[in-house]
Symmetry: C2
Subunit: 145 residues, 2 copies
DNA sequence: ATATAGAATGAGAATCGTTACAGATTTGTT
DNA sequence: AACAAATCTGTAACGATTCTCATTCTATAT
């Protein structure tokens, strides 16, 4: 089990939260780093196999979420997890209204700047202090089209 | 039970889908029209009381969603419903990272146009057919600030 | 190296929100 | 009133998630 750069960053973050970077947690991080978008516990279980039992998987996700290493997304009554933005980079979401799959999409800097301008404007007209944002685009994915 | 303008619009929409606008369905619509943001089945049950049993409430929400009268919103493993955008108006969401509350926010037309341009651009660079969108702004709400 | 304390694990039971089922009731039509 | 279809409702079933607790592991002190 090689220690990647990602591993090092996760380990450091977990250390701040005084929890260990165990092999089960490593397996989940590894799995999440290999897929495109958020994945449910069941989907992750498919990937990691018997090495991480379902009950441990759920607990692992809770620990990782708590430490800010992964972030949950909810759709169709089920939670899907992905690496937090400081690990995966800022991105937006394409949500398929047919199959529920969520794909990440990073947009060109020029567009991103325009999104940020809008978010700033929203902060100005509301009593809300914005710290992050995501554009959720709903529609039909290539597979369901 | 007076028939409001909202009732008439909902009734027409349901008629298109060949379902009736019964008193239970009316009660749910009424409840949703009186609150600020999305509400879960349990929360709605609190409002409508015994007049709509929980199992009926769930089925009612399914019927209304099917007809496009209400729209679900997922967070923390539970579905919250609100009136569809053609009834409540297009809006975005302010998600408080502290208390979890989601507030609706409608933005000025000039900003909305810019959001739509960005969504269109995203559709162009991906193989995704966008039908709707929502800007999810994360941050701290006035109460938690 | 070994002992020890705290952290982490794993199998199964329990819980929660939600859906499916089936019989009873209501509605519109004739 | 009589009928067929739509709707309702209590209960059972279900899937996703959380909890429990006995066991295993790990870091640290000795």
């Amino acid at each position: 089990m090689p220690t990647t750069n990602l591993d090092r960053r996760v380990e450091a973050r977990l250390a701040e939260h005084e929890v260990r970077y165990t092999s089960g947690r490593k397996a989940v991080i590894q799995a999440l780093s290999e897929v495109e978008g958020p994945r449910s516990a069941a989907e992750l279980s498919e990937i990691v196999g018997d090495s991480v039992p379902l009950s441990s998987l759920y607990r692992t996700l809770a620990v990782l979420e708590d430490a800010g290493v992964v972030a949950p997304h909810f759709s169709k009554n089920l939670a899907r997890y992905e690496l937090a933005e400081w690990l995966a980079g800022h991105h937006h979401h394409l949500v398929c209204i047919d199959c529920g799959t969520i794909d990440d999409i990073a947009i060109p800097e020029t567009l991103e700047v325009r999104v940020e301008e809008i978010v700033t404007a929203i902060g100005d007209i509301s009593k809300f202090r914005a710290s992050n944002h995501a554009l959720e685009v709903e529609g039909t994915c290539a597979r369901c089209a």
